[in-house]
Point group: C2
Chain length 251, copies 2
Amino acid sequence: MTHQDETIVTAALLVIGDEILSGRTKDKNIGTIADHCTMIGVRLREVRVVADVEDEIVAAVNDLRRRYTYLFTTGGIGPTHDDITADSIAKAFGVPIDHHPEVKEIMLAHFARRGVEATPARMRMARIPHGATIVPNKVSIAPGFKLDNVIVMAGIPTVMQVMLDAVTPELKTGRKMLAVTIELLKPEGEIANPLEQSQKAFADVSMGSYPFVRDGRLYGTELVLRSTDPQRLEAAEADLRARLAGAGLLG
Amino acid sequence: MTHQDETIVTAALLVIGDEILSGRTKDKNIGTIADHCTMIGVRLREVRVVADVEDEIVAAVNDLRRRYTYLFTTGGIGPTHDDITADSIAKAFGVPIDHHPEVKEIMLAHFARRGVEATPARMRMARIPHGATIVPNKVSIAPGFKLDNVIVMAGIPTVMQVMLDAVTPELKTGRKMLAVTIELLKPEGEIANPLEQSQKAFADVSMGSYPFVRDGRLYGTELVLRSTDPQRLEAAEADLRARLAGAGLLG
């Protein structure tokens, strides 16, 4: 991982698939990729979910890849006719797409070992846009790829995970976002005032307030402070705790 | 619910919140709203997740509300400084925002009954853009709202759910999408060919192929056929089953 400690590295995620929009499949990749980005110091700034429609994929890819350091995509790289992600990425970049010799070889060897027929549908998964590098897939062989700043991964969470792990060493990462959580058994409405005062005093530390439910009812509020600077984070936490204590809201 | 059986009614969903993008909170509303839309005959066509940043919310709202019959939003309507959805919606529409007299009254009465102080932060939740109608909230009182075709709901899933149920009778709905699933204990790569043939023969019936994992490994494939026309759906299913049987892939 190339640490560029002073840089802010941003990312967007494009989830591709009718099955998410119909409700048939419940997406799990958004949460996994969000956690992963936070962990490695990349700010996930936007997520989109679009249908298996080429024009919509192309438009979203071209919009998002220009606005963020990285664009991750999940879904649509399998062997069936509704898997149109690789072609859509090629179209978005205006590059040709063809069977990748090295991927073809890996897949043919894998199929031969397992006695699986190398049908045209299966070999379709070896089609990679020109100029892309391969993101290996230890689980089910057919790889993802990285073209410029766009990282194309599978939709199946276990396969997505190995691709994400495989590509991570190649990514630039920025300063890690640090977080502190203060949990209060008080409703948001009582905390809003001291929280806003602290936020004004520490404009560089992001402060969020998240009510939480327990036993089916609103139970309390988590305050989350975030900064890349540990000293500012500590100072902001002390300031907020003092204000909360002053208002009789701590403990 | 106004049934307009010949119309296609579309929707987008905008999820608003830093906590989803950081991974701190795992979104559940996308799946719930996707299921709900499918159930009532609304096609969810796009989802976006954006941060608590006014410009980004305004841009996404104005883009999405113009492209779909409805835009649902979740998140950012609580009492704290990071809850900026109502103001962003007002800005997107270029309308003023102020305390809504009826909402104010409902909230003051609720707070009085429960002995809760009507702090300025809490009363902030009574601020509603001009021209909006109220989407009642039986769980925690502070309501959502509907402005033109934009439906603004809470981020907490239980609260979102009551708002979604409350607004549903007001929505236009289209023909319901019907679905048939065929589960096969075969990998996608073997099914791709008959599936593509069926899709070509029934271009009006959407056919998707979804590998599924069981016991941690790829196990089989679900084929999902979708159409608003029960007769076409039945014919397409028969066609696909015949092709699968012909290729020795059924049972």
